[in-house]
């Protein structure tokens, strides 16, 4: 008991400092978040639920609904807003350089002249959420 009393006395200021730092970091809240929200939910909250920005939620939906069952984990993603590549958020997802599975993010009708292929003739639309589209190339 005496040892702890001494320890507390000599390190009181450090404990206060660490306590301030703990509050600054929201440490306890962060631990609470870890137990409350799943990793997926935290990713959705960080990168977006559905269509917009990086459109993590939309690409995740396409990945789980259309790619995982067929085991062809390849996508060609074109984002018409300036954002980093959503591809990298999916470690197993490869770049579809033949552009068979095509995802257009934040795509508006006036963006058609920005692409160098005929979307209407070459592709069939499989899924649409707001301004995000999933196309598959016609055989």
């Amino acid at each position: 008991m005496h040892y702890f009393k001494n320890f507390f006395k000599s390190h009181f200021l450090i404990l206060i400092l660490l306590l301030i730092f703990t509050a600054n970091f929201n440490f306890f809240y962060n631990v609470y978040l870890l137990s409350k929200r799943s990793y997926d939910e935290r990713l959705f909250r960080s990168y977006g639920w559905g269509c917009g920005g990086l459109s993590y939620g939309y690409v995740k939906k396409i990945y789980e609904k259309f790619l995982e069952p067929t085991n062809k984990k390849k996508l060609h993603i074109l984002n018409f807003e300036v954002h980093p590549d959503t591809h990298s958020l999916f470690p197993q997802l490869k770049v579809d350089s033949k552009r068979i599975n095509l995802v257009l993010l934040n795509f508006k009708s006036e963006d058609k002249n920005k692409i160098n292929f005929n979307l209407d003739e070459e592709y069939t639309m499989v899924d649409k959420t707001e301004n995000c589209y999933f196309f598959i190339k016609n055989d």
């Binding site: 631990v31 960080s46 980093p84």
Partner: protein, 431 residues
């Protein structure tokens, strides 16, 4: 809660891999005497060097982990000597605080697993590639016939993938945690030099530097690795008095590691080697083997970029060398633009306020000129030249300054803070 337990396990893994193979049971080197932080620094360098070597071979990340464990165990058994050196009670609390601050920091990136722009666009792509068993000699990101981001070195991403793969739940942030580990550790390595300070003063300064340098927007970036390695190297310069063979091995290892983390790491490494040979008036022939090794390592990187990836440039943007042939008003305007954005960066990373005060005090108090102070002064001069050289020739200078100058400023900020040590050691100023 499972994730939090995994954070603790991963922290334990980082700690175990950094207290082996060199420790008080396996070495008698005076550099390490009474300073367990230096053991950890050297062990981190050994780990990073091993990972760099393994990254050139097609070996699975889990196998690499087991090879490293076996190597460490083997080394420990061969070199085991009994040791009387024990960590002082006063210091144990510092190790505890180090782990505590690291867990705080780790929990932050776990709760908000958000990466910065380059983290997503560049480094995570590379990391994914290694995580999936990729090899450096393959194209890791092939788009419309062109490899993307081939000119960025790979070591940081390989380390990320290594710890990501060798974790129980395999979430990417568990790999990225190592960046925080080495960054926070480097602050403790610096602070441990103030032997006469109370723990409160030490912790206070650590927390100040942490707040003055940490930026959540740089999650997934490599800048903190460069920051930490530069602290490792200046700590070595200040504290390794007899600059013999072991010193050279550690010094040049850091230079090689820097060159495999980011492009600017090559430039910093060149500065360090030039200044070292100049300041310590060393016979260059004595270092020739190490210099050759470094040059070979850099050329190997260029070879991979140019020949294997068939890249067209080593650097990230096209250059505009015409700027230097015509000294005109644009050049002057650009010069002031760089100064302007440098002050922006100071506001972002206030550690530079301390650095600038230290440089000012150095000038005012006319410190006794030591090799260490000269080392820092020459590095600053070359760094200014480098920054001017990079930005003055940039065709998109404003965009370039806005997006990257703050990071260049951050990378070297820890290096200059060692001036504080020279003031304390000389006892001309009492802080």
């Amino acid at each position: 809660m499972i994730e939090f337990i995994n954070i603790i396990i991963q922290t334990a893994l980082f700690f175990i891999l950094s207290i082996f193979p060199i420790n008080n049971f396996t070495t008698r080197n005076r550099y390490f005497y009474n300073n367990y932080f230096r053991f950890i620094a050297v062990n981190i360098l050994i780990l990073m060097s091993l990972l760099l070597i393994f990254s050139f071979f097609n070996i699975k990340l889990k196998t690499v982990f087991f090879i490293i464990l076996v190597l460490y165990l083997f080394y420990f058994l061969i070199n085991f000597k009994s040791s009387k050196f024990l960590i002082k009670k006063r210091e144990i609390i510092l190790y505890f605080i180090f782990l505590l601050i690291f867990i705080y920091s780790f929990s932050l990136i776990t709760a908000y697993p958000l990466l910065g722009w380059d983290g997503i666009a560049t480094w995570k792509i590379k990391s994914n590639f290694f995580y999936n068993g990729g090899n450096i000699f393959e194209f890791y990101n092939f788009r419309d016939g062109e490899p993307h981001y081939y000119q960025y070195p790979h070591l940081g991403s390989y380390i990320w993938a290594f710890f990501w793969k060798n974790s129980f739940i395999e979430f990417e942030y568990l790999g990225r945690g190592f960046y925080h580990y080495i960054y926070i550790f480097s602050l403790f390595l610096f602070i441990h030099n103030f032997k006469e300070w109370s723990n409160f003063k030490k912790v206070f300064l650590i927390l100040f530097i942490y707040i003055a340098t940490y930026d959540f927007e740089l999650e997934g970036y490599q800048d903190y690795l460069i920051f930490s390695l530069l602290i490792f190297v200046i700590d070595l310069i200040f504290n390794y008095k007899k600059k013999g063979f072991i010193f050279l091995v550690i010094f040049y290892s850091i230079c090689i590691l820097l060159s495999w983390i980011k492009n600017e790491g090559i430039i910093y490494a060149c500065f360090l080697i030039i200044i070292y040979n100049f300041v310590y008036k060393k016979d260059v022939s004595r270092n020739l083997l190490f210099i050759c090794l470094f040059v070979l390592s850099v050329f190997f990187q260029f070879y991979i970029n140019l020949e294997i990836y068939n890249g067209k440039t080593l650097f990230q943007i096209p250059t505009n060398t015409n700027v230097f042939t015509e000294i005109n008003i644009t050049l002057l305007k650009n010069f002031f633009l760089i100064i302007w954005y440098f002050f922006h960066s100071i506001l972002k990373y206030p550690i530079w306020i301390i650095n600038l005060i230290l440089f000012l005090l150095l000038h005012v108090y006319k410190q006794k000129k030591s090799s260490e102070i000269n080392f820092i002064k020459y590095f600053l001069a070359l760094n200014i030249l480098f920054i001017m050289g990079v930005y003055l020739q940039s065709p998109y200078i404003k965009w370039h300054l806005q997006t990257s100058l703050d990071r260049l400023v951050l990378q070297t900020s820890g290096f200059y803070i060692y001036l504080l040590l020279s003031f304390i050691k000389n006892k001309k100023l009492k802080i």
